[in-house]
């Protein structure tokens, strides 16, 4: 006989063999017994928990020669045919391959014909989530009112992809993931029957990696048996999966605690050389940190941490060395790293650097403590508030004498500025192009008889210098203030302007000072830009 993997060989053939899912089995058995069979069922749940198996057993229960029975005999012709997949009336359809509307129409066409040998016509559509939208819609009417003695059973891992109109027409059953205990029991049964000697600890390990799925666990068992033969030793599970035991994880955590990068790095190299899979180690390390956290926080950790798989004493000792916040930090970094490693082509680098980082983020300040300490300091005599109070008088004293000067300047300036704005508006009204010229100029002097403008560049200045423009400005001033002014111009860069003859020495100094200041800061800015960006200044 051809070799069959455990998952197929040990597929339950009766309700009594099915593990877990008692709530579903009971419901179905009662339905058969009371003759209240729905015409459509939907089984959903994670992989390897018994959806397809339950569907097949239900088909058998309905069609068994001993009448619809809560427990099929599995020996009669009908049962055997269904088991072998050769029954005409029980069709198992791969929803993922036959997902189009054409296949569904085919099916609907055939639904109306009576059964040939069985009592019920059962359509099992597996992976039903892959049906296309139109395929689902084509099913709706048939699914609502199928011909007599037709039962649809849908099985899927992704019930959220099923349209609601389908869901509302089915009896839905959610299959639960299996517990470790259930998986271990079944594995023990299998290994006993197959004559495999296996330690409970190894089964524990397998069940853990099966993550609630019986088929995963059975595949793993096959894998381990293929590796080590009929004698499964505790080390072989670790060897096959490339995972490490608690001892190695302890060493990692201890090294992180001791902030010993060197030891961490050496440990990584050792594990890699031992042929271990780093992404599993990262995952297990996160799991380990989770356990540390549980041991630290929980009142009765024995209930939350699997005491058979983990050495609680060691966990307790290590947990004492860490602050809960640190463990949180480490955990989140590890989970992030796990994702990164799956994406990276060089996971080892990522893992190494993450470990260095774990050591690096270690010295941290608990924010709660900091806040508390600040609070305490404030209560103790509020030194932070005292500092500005002392500083204030000094600042005022400095300001004191400066106030009158600034005030005078400001008053003069205010009058000038207001008048100048009016003049500017007037000029621009007459000749809009001036808006641009005057925008960048500075008013050096604006008195009853003189208007002196300073420009940034010689070009603009030359433009304004022209006779017609000068007279335009003079006219504008006349119309605003009524006074006659002479218009003088200069360049900002050159303090000794050409128009200096019209201003006295003091005025000149006054005007030169701010413009020189301006020039300096501007060149400074340019210099800084040069420093940052490099390059040559072009004018």
């Amino acid at each position: 006989m051809e070799f069959q993997v455990s998952a197929r060989k040990w597929r339950p053939q009766k309700f009594s063999q099915l593990i877990g899912q008692e709530h579903i089995i009971r419901t179905l058995q009662n339905a058969v017994e009371l003759n209240r069979i729905s015409h459509a069922y939907l089984f959903s749940g994670t992989r390897g928990v018994g959806k397809t198996t339950t569907a097949r057993i239900l088909a058998k229960a309905l069609n068994c020669e001993n009448g619809p029975t809560p427990e099929p005999c599995d020996t009669c012709v009908a049962c055997r045919e269904i088991r072998e997949g050769s029954s005409i009336d029980v069709r198992e359809i791969d929803g993922a391959s036959n997902n189009g509307v054409a296949e569904v129409r085919d099916l609907i066409d055939n639904v109306q014909y009576a059964t040939s040998s069985c009592r019920y016509k059962v359509y099992i559509i597996d992976e039903v989530h892959m049906l296309s939208k139109s395929a689902f819609n084509a099913l709706l009417k048939t699914l609502e009112e199928p011909p007599e003695r037709v039962v649809f059973i849908f099985a899927t891992t992704e019930s959220d992809k099923i349209p609601e109109t389908i869901l509302s027409r089915c009896q839905c059953f959610e299959f639960k993931p299996l517990t470790h205990k259930q998986i271990i029991q079944q594995l023990q049964l299998i290994s006993e029957q197959e004559g495999i000697a296996v330690y409970t600890l190894s089964l524990e390990e397998i069940a853990k990696n099966g993550a609630g799925s019986m088929r995963d666990a059975q595949s793993l068992l096959d894998q381990v048996v293929a590796f080590s033969g009929k004698e499964v030793t505790p080390g072989s599970v670790e060897a096959v999966l490339g995972i490490v035991g608690q001892k190695t994880l302890e060493i990692f955590i201890d090294a992180i605690r001791a902030q010993d990068c060197s030891a961490l790095f050496a440990q990584v190299q050792d594990t890699v050389n031992a042929g271990k899979d780093l992404s599993y180690i990262c995952r297990d390390l996160a799991d380990y940190v989770r356990n540390l956290l549980v041991v630290k926080m929980a009142d009765a950790p024995e209930k939350l941490v699997d005491a058979q798989a983990w050495d609680l004493e060691v966990l307790k000792r290590q947990a004492e060395n860490f602050h809960a916040d640190e463990l949180h930090q480490i955990f989140s970094l590890l989970t992030r790293t796990e994702v990164e490693m799956k994406r990276s082509s060089l996971p080892q680098q990522v893992f190494e650097m993450a470990l260095f980082r774990l050591v690096d983020v270690r010295p941290f300040q608990n924010i709660d403590d900091l806040i508390k300490r600040i609070g305490e300091m404030e209560d103790a005599g509020s030194p932070p508030a005292a500092v500005p109070a002392q500083a204030k008088p000094a600042a005022e004293a400095e300001k004191g004498p400066a106030v009158p000067v600034a005030k005078v300047q400001a008053e003069q300036g205010a009058a000038d500025v207001a008048l100048w704005e009016k003049v500017k508006a007037e000029i621009c009204a007459r000749k809009p192009v001036f808006l641009h010229y005057l925008e960048s100029c500075q008013v050096v002097e604006f008195s009853d008889s003189v208007l002196h403008l300073a420009f940034q560049d010689p070009y603009t200045r030359d433009l304004v210098e022209r006779e017609e423009n000068r007279s335009l400005i003079a006219q504008a001033v006349r119309s605003v203030s009524g006074g006659e002014v002479r218009v003088g111009t200069s360049e900002i860069k050159a303090p000794e302007s050409q128009a200096s003859g019209q201003t006295d020495e003091i005025e000149k100094k006054k005007s030169a000072a701010p413009s020189a200041l301006m020039t300096k800061s501007e060149s400074e800015i340019i210099q800084q830009a040069l420093d940052v960006f490099g390059g040559v200044l072009m004018r």
Binding site: E2, F3, Q4, V5, A7, R8, T46, R47, G48, T52, G85, D94, A96, S97, N99, D126, E127, H129, M130, T157, S213, R215, D216, S219, L220, D222, Q223, V225, A226, F227, G229, A239, V240, L241, G242, C261, S262, F265, A266, Q269, V272, G275, D277, E340, K342, R343, S344, S345, L346, Q348, Q349, V350, M353, F356, D360, D531, V532, F533, G534, G535
Partner: protein, 339 residues
């Protein structure tokens, strides 16, 4: 002897040999492990062993073995990712190919004893293709074996993984890579050069062989990269922009270049915490030492993360120049980190 061509994978080979001996060959295998370590080769050897007409399993000399080697055996099916059009960016395995395969698998073996379907690069199956495979993978027709090879089993549907017997392939030691390199490259290069390449291959033969093209070019840039790590700062923004501009144009070399950068940063960090052991770039030890001296560990780690982020962005088609500039600005920013 079966599997003698598969080097350095003692554990998987042992498992497969035992399974053949005891006739407990599973109907579905998942070969997973890093790129270029012999997964596909092992799968082909398995196919040969199951169909060999000669005395030894997978003798390599009989008609069946030869046919499988030439891919003309009627009972050996190889499915590989292929591009939809020559210009497509990614090669995928599409549902049509899987359906085709399913149709062929229904029939009994034509010539050999067992039909072997090898799906190489199973992570490139799209969602429809993966789901279509589920039922076949769970209960295939008689005398059929399906082998999936994949780098990262987490990228597959969990429902697929759960149906297969997984076999883990580890990375190869640099000695074995060196052996393969010596055999593959006839124009025997300097043994020291080959050795270096073997060490920098990260346990993957395809990586070691691919080192020839873009990687070599990126590899030549290592000293410049080292200078960049050491020298980049806010005082030299001109260098930053110049560098980004030069490299942004060469999109093909960019990922290998950033890989080199990662390797250098990793080596610097290792130098810092442990000293010269297990370095990727042992030949640059002399140049790296002073850089490791001036850079702090947190700065190196920050740089490492920044490069990884940039790699991710570039893979997502980000503007190369902007990404590189941002990277170097981040590099400059790490200067401020305390020792």
């Amino acid at each position: 002897m079966p599997f003698e061509r598969v080097l350095g994978q003692d554990q998987p080979v042992e498992i497969l040999k035992k399974s053949i001996e005891k006739k407990t060959v599973s109907h579905a295998y998942l070969f997973y492990g890093p790129e270029g370590v012999g997964k596909k080769l092992a799968a082909i050897e398995l196919a040969k062993a199951l169909n060999c007409l000669g005395r030894g399993n997978a003798c390599g000399g009989c008609e069946s073995c030869r046919k499988i080697d030439q891919r003309i055996h009627p009972d050996f099916f190889l499915v590989e990712p292929e591009k939809k059009t020559p210009t497509s960016r990614e090669a995928v395995i599409r549902i049509e190919r899987i359906r085709e395969l399913q149709k062929k698998l229904i029939y009994m073996p034509y010539e050999g004893r067992t039909k072997v379907a090898l799906i190489d690069g199973a992570e490139w199956m799209n969602a429809q293709a993966s789901n279509t495979l589920l039922k076949t993978l769970e209960e295939p027709p008689r005398a059929t074996i399906l082998i999936l090879t994949v780098v990262n089993p987490f990228q597959l549907l969990p429902t697929l993984v759960s149906r297969c017997q997984g076999i883990r392939f580890g990375r190869l030691s640099s000695e074995i890579i060196l052996k393969v390199l010596e055999k593959e490259l006839e124009d025997n290069e300097d043994i020291a050069v080959l050795k270096l390449r073997a060490e920098r291959a990260e346990g993957s033969i395809s990586r070691a062989l691919a080192l020839q093209e873009e990687r070599v070019e990126a590899g030549e840039q290592r000293e410049n990269l080292l200078d960049l790590i050491a020298g980049v700062s806010f005082d030299r923004m001109d260098a930053v922009f110049k560098w980004s501009k030069t490299w942004a144009r060469r999109t093909g070399t960019l990922q290998p270049l950033l890989d080199e950068l990662l390797g250098l940063l990793r080596d610097l960090a290792v130098l810092k915490v442990r000293g010269p052991s297990h370095l990727h770039n042992p030949d640059l030890l002399r140049q790296m030492r002073p850089v490791a001296q001036i850079k702090s560990l947190p700065a190196l780690l920050d740089m490492f993360d920044a490069v990884r982020e940039t790699k991710r962005l570039l893979a997502g088609n980000a503007n190369a120049q902007l990404a590189l500039e941002t990277l170097l600005i981040k590099f400059s920013d790490t200067q401020g980190r305390p020792q």
